[in-house]
Subunit: 335 residues, 2 copies
DNA sequence: CTGAAAGCGCTTACAG
DNA sequence: CTGAAAGCGCTTACAG
């Protein structure tokens, strides 16, 4: 490879080459409009020729500002929340921040340590953590907002709100005549998975329905497939609530592989409104989560905290919407 | 919120509190083993109490090293290459680097400008760009490796290698008896999409087959669905080569919606071996790309460049593997 | 409109 | 084994 790297000029060298002082070059890069056109032109020429760009690390060393935020994710996450990231990223940019995505690994303790290190590093002015983790915000020199999985402030008020579509799903299926249910849960390290399981169990109980049980999966299609393949013949299950669309897809496949029609013999619900699920056959019934709103809202909260402003009000309406598609229908005449 | 942020101590203050010099604290954090246990204990206590962690920006200001690499992606990318990111991230960590993911937006010029700014920022020691973009590596003060979409060094030698499975797919379908083909391409701003289209056209021509044409899509299921819905009745197409699994999923759905059986009437191939495609019905025939190898290899190249070492040899065997599943079969007796 | 001085929080030789 | 001095590349008052 032609690894010809440009020698990195300093602001002093640029100033010397342009015949001005280094402060003037500094002003040039901070878009200070008070430069004389002639001065600007001289600097322009040197900058073009040497491809000079200011060292942002040095700048932030001095200004104590970086204009950078970080969003942390578990690298092991089954799937990265692309839509949320995109919305968060857009919001950050609109507010004048660069956003970097940092994956954090290990157990909750190690993850918290890594986040604290990042917080103290001076690289970023705030952190939005999508990682399930216990962190003492007071231990961090910059604001840390934890979202996605659980939120320390919404806890109690809204903790189960995220899972409330499960209630809606079970009620809907019951209204179609389903009586025996089955839940294939996501990884239990996620509060969202635990909450869905909890609400599932509560609702089944409250409505006097039967639950054939809960399979503890890992968010993967394989876990859905295996769970359904593992059901005994004649178990009577006609309604399956899967942790997400991946699990649901596997569950549908598992059912079909046993000769069960979907939704003729068994109905399946997923979660996330994955695009592929919409085009699958049968198309997946699911829960659409407005990741756009979720990402924007979380990032807006972080930015408010960074600026020392009060937190913006949370979105007034639920970001979840149950969508019924082909994979759900009435149970067979006699189970 | 209890936005109680720890006041950020400096190394001097920690030193004073611990009753040592700041250099000693510096050594403590650089794991210098020559500290007396008693000294270490004193520092330990202060660090614990105040949650002090060194300012990495100041450190790298001085050392001119950050131990950080960046990977840049187009935020508009239809889907983030999660598996590749994960492999690249793992490789970086193993080699002692932190990895940050930065999304870059805008047209190719703006993207190149953004990457150059990042390269000059002092924040990172090297950049792996997954963004299609024209950049002069010589204009960057740190190594920039462009991969995924095209690679400046492999161009000519391997540029079309990535698309060679298309040849294999067309040949396979032809061997089953297919004669009339259709290609639904991905977004043409991607070299991979252009290459697949090119190889498709070449192979169809070379084998004396018929192409009903190429639909230019955007990598989305909807584009696959629309393309198939747009085919006239009696067009005779029995074999569809889709740009990726998303497109293929939409194409299958479009075909089924017209009453065409898959694969009875029409066979469909995708690309990427998406997990959901494996569990779809019919399961998708596809191309498995070893993103693990791709991500590790690209990151290893970047790290070698950062260290001024020679580039590691590329993987000796193809990272692509054609997988035949239910969505592909012989054409109907008479088209 | 532009220049000389101080300092952001560290690490690196160099002494002791 | 530990301390005083210099400096990484910028920006921020403060003069002129």
């Amino acid at each position: 490879m032609d690894e010809v790297e440009t020698p990195r000029l300093t602001i002093h060298e640029v100033a010397r080459l342009a015949g001005v002082s280094h402060q003037t070059v500094s002003r040039y890069f901070r878009h200070n409009e008070t430069l004389k056109p002639a001065t600007r032109a001289k600097i322009d020429s040197v900058v073009q020729q040497f491809n000079y760009r200011p060292n942002l690390v040095a700048r932030s060393m001095r200004t104590r500002r970086t204009n950078r935020l970080a969003i942390t994710l578990p690298v092991s996450s089954y799937q990265w929340p692309v839509r949320l990231l995109r919305a968060a990223s857009a919001t950050a940019h609109e507010e004048g921040f660069q956003l970097e995505v940092v994956s954090v690994e290990g157990d909750p303790r190690a993850r918290a340590e890594r986040v604290l290190e990042l917080a103290a590093s001076g690289h970023v002015e705030g952190i939005l953590s999508l990682t399930p983790m216990e962190i003492d915000p007071a231990a961090s020199p910059v604001p840390v907002v934890v979202t996605g999985d659980y939120d320390d402030k919404l806890r109690g008020v809204n903790e189960l709100a995220d899972a409330s579509p499960v209630r809606e799903i079970v009620e809907y299926l019951a209204s179609l005549g389903h009586r025996v249910f089955f839940h294939i849960a996501g990884a239990q390290s996620w509060a969202s998975a635990r909450n869905r399981k909890l609400v599932y169990e509560e609702t089944v109980e409250r409505l006097g329905l039967t639950s054939y049980g809960v399979a503890l999966g890992d968010w993967s299609p394989q876990s859905g497939y295996d769970a359904v393949r593992g059901l005994p013949d004649g178990c009577g299950v006609t309604a399956i609530v899967a942790g997400n669309d991946h699990v649901a897809m596997g569950a549908v496949r598992g059912a079909l592989s046993r000769g069960w029609r979907v939704p003729g013999d068994v109905s399946v619900f997923g979660w996330d409104d994955e695009e592929l699920g919409r085009f699958a056959t049968p198309s997946l019934s699911t829960v659409a989560v407005d990741r756009e709103v979720q990402g924007r809202e979380a990032m807006a909260r972080l930015i408010a905290a960074v600026r020392g402003e009060p937190a913006p009000p949370p979105p007034e309406r639920s970001i979840n919407r149950v969508i019924v598609r082909e994979s759900a229908g009435p149970p067979p005449r006699r189970a």
